[in-house]
């Protein structure tokens, strides 16, 4: 921001902060501490924004309330900060360093100087009590007939059984080779679940994957015994032969390479599986010969 050139008048020592979320609050507090007068304009009835609704913050898992509460109180008490809630900026004119903003405050319907926060008005609030529930989730595009029959068949086999989500996801993955996201959305829709619930289960378990694998799945055991007996060398050899790293699929979609935590062939390490077929005591020199069998 550069000060205006023409008028020659000094810049004004006040700042308007638009938006009373955690960023706006912090900016206001910092500006106030630097000696500026601050007008904090917030559209909603309260400042705090999204963070005030959170339990924890990513990635540290810190308690959100513990971070924001002192700042909320600080902003409200600060003599240099005027908090304008239920307010919109209707116009802005002037130039950098000397703006004129017009702020319109909507009526609150409550005399804020008399409000004690008792909450009695909540029970008779006409807006809240007649609020419509959000519309149920609808996937973007409809299922093709073939998919609908396939999914319907799988769901019918498990309908009504307790704890059936895992078996259903396993069957979808067996049928499609992976978990197609649109299918999970339709499944959620049919069973009255939220898609997030299914995605959460699907992403928790290592065996589920949301992208298709190549034609052949190569799994290298990364168990302790195999590690001690050279599974690292085996992985390097396979990476070189196939030309991709662990967890990737080659360009011709022939192989997907991945590691798995113990195949249970510990006395025959290093071990691997290709398409479920186990190979024990894998000799590095035999790797190309083994791979050749899987075109």
């Amino acid at each position: 921001m550069t000060p205006g050139d023409g008028s020659g008048s000094a810049p004004i020592g006040s700042v308007l902060v638009l938006g009373g979320g955690i960023a706006g609050i912090q900016a206001s507090l910092d500006l106030s501490a630097a000696g500026y007068r601050v007008f904090l304009v917030e559209e909603s009835p309260t400042i705090g924004g999204g963070m005030a609704r959170l339990d924890k913050t990513f990635p540290t898992g810190d308690c959100a309330t513990c971070i924001i509460s002192p700042k909320l109180v600080g902003a409200m008490r600060d003599y240099n900060i005027d908090v304008l809630t239920m307010a919109d900026v209707t116009s802005l004119s002037g130039e950098a360093g000397r703006f004129v903003a017009e702020v319109r405050m909507r009526p609150r319907g409550v005399i804020s100087s008399k409000c004690t926060g008792c909450g009695d008005c909540w029970t008779i609030c006409p807006v809240r009590n007649n609020a419509e529930p959000p519309p149920p989730f609808r996937p973007d595009k409809p299922l093709s007939e073939a998919d609908a029959a396939r999914l319907g068949g799988i769901l019918a086999r498990h309908e009504g059984q307790p704890g059936n989500i895992l078996p259903v996801l396993q069957e979808i993955q067996e049928s499609y080779g992976y978990l197609p996201r649109f299918l999970l959305e339709h499944m959620a829709c049919l069973w009255g679940l939220r898609p997030a619930e299914l995605l959460r289960v699907g992403s928790f378990y290592d065996r589920f994957h949301f992208e298709p694998y190549g034609r052949h799945l190569v799994e290298i055991c990364a168990g302790t015994s195999c590690h001690a007996r050279g599974s690292g060398k085996l992985l390097e050899k396979l990476e070189k032969e196939i030309g991709v790293g662990a967890g990737e699929t080659d360009k011709s979609r022939r192989f997907t390479l991945r590691t798995v935590r113990c195949l249970g062939l510990c006395a025959l390490s290093p071990a691997m599986k290709i398409n479920g077929q186990p190979f024990g005591r894998v000799d590095l020199d035999r790797v190309p010969e083994i791979l050749e069998k899987f075109a």
Partner: protein, 598 residues
């Protein structure tokens, strides 16, 4: 054979049918077809055997069986001679199989390929012994099985039928006494008496925590609820342990019978077996076994005419180590992501769908039936006073006789590694052991003379844990092992609690730094402090035990960590950023050994 099995007479008839296929009056070719055999080509050997039977017009049958435990000698093929002993042949190939059967057609047995012969087989569930007809002559030249170092100290109870029966043949398992325990418990005993017998026998959980099984059952029995469950924990995610797979692949009915007895004892009409998805063969065999048991009235409604009903369902895991923890397993069975619950309340009162639930390991369930048929005194006579009975260890890594061994508790580590295991491959020096699961870290050879038990008393024992014993020779770097083990927990942490999720990551970073040659001595102190905080703050058992991998390895091999930091030297030549002695003189390290061989 078909028809429901309801009383002793039905059992005797089925057993007679089973004996006819177990010991037919013609040549029987047994192919070890558990996953370990399959991974080394058992299907090809079986096909070769079938072709040879055609080619040489032999009067013979081919049968797939489970694992006799001697994985180092796989692929194994056994001949059960008509009117003769059973002979095991090791390191078989399709060519050798054809040659062997060709020789057999000319009355020659190619004894130079043989591993051992069986003079008899103990039928553990009944205490009888099936003796093979003995034949004098050249057969005496091959060692008897119980004379082999690998088998001499072994006492097979959990693995009683593995490698002897066809796991898909119900009559064969009945001929070896399976389901007699359930019959006795359900027709002649009260549930309380069953629990008493299990308690008196002193059976403790074989999954690692070693909780007294009888006490667990009693708590579940006493909990009042309309519905109760029994669950078999077959989510054997622990790297280095594969005994549960072997039991399920070799003798699934042993587990089902144990669950049936347990369901009767606590009053549960429904059971679940939660198997890892990495074990497809075990799942297939188990489902087949349940199907058979239902058809023959051993599962389902009105079992043995007692009015008792019991159903078992197999559930597949989806690749999450944490689901081996019982509350996470329950969450997963309920269809959620497998995040552990806080305990108490314990599953015996609030388990699956909030109902009393007994979760036991595969080996625990399989240990129950012989206790009922042969009595608790017989069982308590094995093992130590603190932990009676037997358990299975998987010996692997740089050991000659890698495989599964079932021994009574109290055996010393030295006997396991040097007597049963036959010492290290290439007679290299023993550097350490990774025993009892990833969280137990690496132990130095100073533990060799300690006994293995379920409780740690004044450091006179080392803990059984999950039973995997990985023997490490001098080509293993202990800093690298610690890094690997922490990396495992980092990957498997469910992310629910911060100490485990973030702590394992930080420990991994510090160890990586040391492996790459950027470590400082302050890192070691930091590592220890961090490990201790994670240990005390994590929510579930896994998080609480993960730092053990670092702390134990550090306390046993501190010198090696210090050499990595101060001298930037990795004596095993594993850490790539550091100086490896093998790089110069060709005497040490994995690469050097390869070079010497080639």
């Amino acid at each position: 054979m078909s028809g429901a099995l309801r009383n002793v007479a039905d059992f005797d008839r089925a057993a007679a049918a089973g004996l006819r296929t177990l010991y037919p009056q013609r040549l029987k070719i047994l192919v070890g077809s558990a996953s370990c055999g399959v991974s080394l080509g058992a299907p090809d050997i079986e096909a070769a055997a079938r072709r040879a039977i055609e080619e040489f017009r032999l009067d013979a049958c081919v049968c797939r069986t489970g694992c006799i435990g001697f994985c180092a000698k796989e692929p194994l093929l056994d001949l059960v001679l008509p009117n003769g002993p059973r002979i095991s042949y090791c390191h078989m190939t399709p060519q050798k199989t054809r040659a062997l059967l060709e020789a057999y057609s000319k009355d020659c047995l190619k004894l130079e390929l043989a591993l051992c012969r069986f003079a008899g087989e103990e039928i553990v569930s009944t205490g009888e012994v099936h003796s093979y007809p003995s034949s004098p002559g050249p057969l005496q030249l091959i060692p008897e099985r119980s004379k082999l170092d690998f088998y001499r100290r072994q006492k097979k109870v959990i693995l009683r039928n593995c490698g002897s029966i066809d796991p898909r043949a119900l009559d064969e398992t009945i001929a070896r006494g399976t389901y007699r325990g359930a019959l006795r418990a359900m027709t002649r005993m009260t549930p309380e008496a069953v629990i008493d017998e299990v308690s008196v026998a002193g059976l403790r959980g074989r999954g690692g925590a070693a909780f007294p099984t009888g006490q667990k059952w009693r708590l579940a029995r006493e909990a009042s609820a309309d519905v109760k469950y029994v669950v078999c924990n077959a989510d054997e995610g622990e790297p280095g342990a594969y005994m549960d797979r072997t039991v399920l692949e070799g003798d699934p009915h042993a587990v089902i019978e144990g669950m049936l007895i347990g369901s009767f004892a606590i009053g549960a009409a429904e059971g679940f077996i939660y198997v890892r998805s990495e074990y497809p063969l075990a799942i297939e065999i188990l489902e087949h076994a349940i199907d058979q048991a239902e058809k023959r009235g051993l599962l389902g409604k009105d079992i043995f005419g007692t009015g008792w009903s019991f159903h078992v369902t197999v559930r597949r895991g989806a690749g999450a180590y944490i689901c081996g923890e019982e509350t996470a397993l329950i969450e997963s069975l309920e269809g959620h992501s497998g995040e552990p619950r806080t305990r108490p309340p314990y599953p015996v009162t609030n388990g699956l769908w909030g109902k009393p639930t007994v979760v036991n390991n595969v080996k625990t369930w399989a240990s129950v039936p012989p206790i009922i048929t042969r009595g608790p005194a017989w069982y308590a006579g094995m093992g130590t006073r603190r932990t009676p009975g037997t358990t299975i260890f998987s010996l692997e890594g740089a050991v000659k006789n890698a495989g599964l061994v079932e021994v009574p508790f109290g055996i010393s580590v030295r006997d396991l590694v040097y007597e049963i295991g036959g010492g290290l491959i290439g007679d290299r020096p023993l550097k350490g052991l990774q025993a009892g699961g990833a969280s137990r870290g690496c132990l130095s050879p100073s533990v060799l003379d300690l006994a293995i038990d379920t409780e740690d008393r004044e450091n006179a024992t080392i803990l059984m844990g999950t039973g995997g014993i990985i023997v490490l020779d001098d080509s293993a770097c202990m800093v690298d092992m610690a890094r690997f083990l922490v990396g495992f927990f980092l990957e498997e942490s469910c992310g629910k609690c911060v100490p485990c999720r973030e702590g394992t990551g930080q420990m991994f970073r510090i160890l990586s730094r040391i492996c790459e040659g950027h470590g400082t001595m302050a890192d070691l102190a930091l590592l220890e402090r961090l490990a201790k905080s994670v240990k005390s703050a994590a929510v579930c058992g896994m998080g609480g035990m993960a730092p053990g991998a670092v702390l134990t390895t550090l306390s046993h091999f501190r010198g090696e960590f210090e050499t990595h930091i101060q001298e930037k030297r990795c004596s095993a030549g594993v850490c790539r950023g550091l100086v490896a002695p093998g790089a110069f003189d060709g005497k040490f390290g994995r690469h050097a050994a390869k070079k010497a061989k080639g």
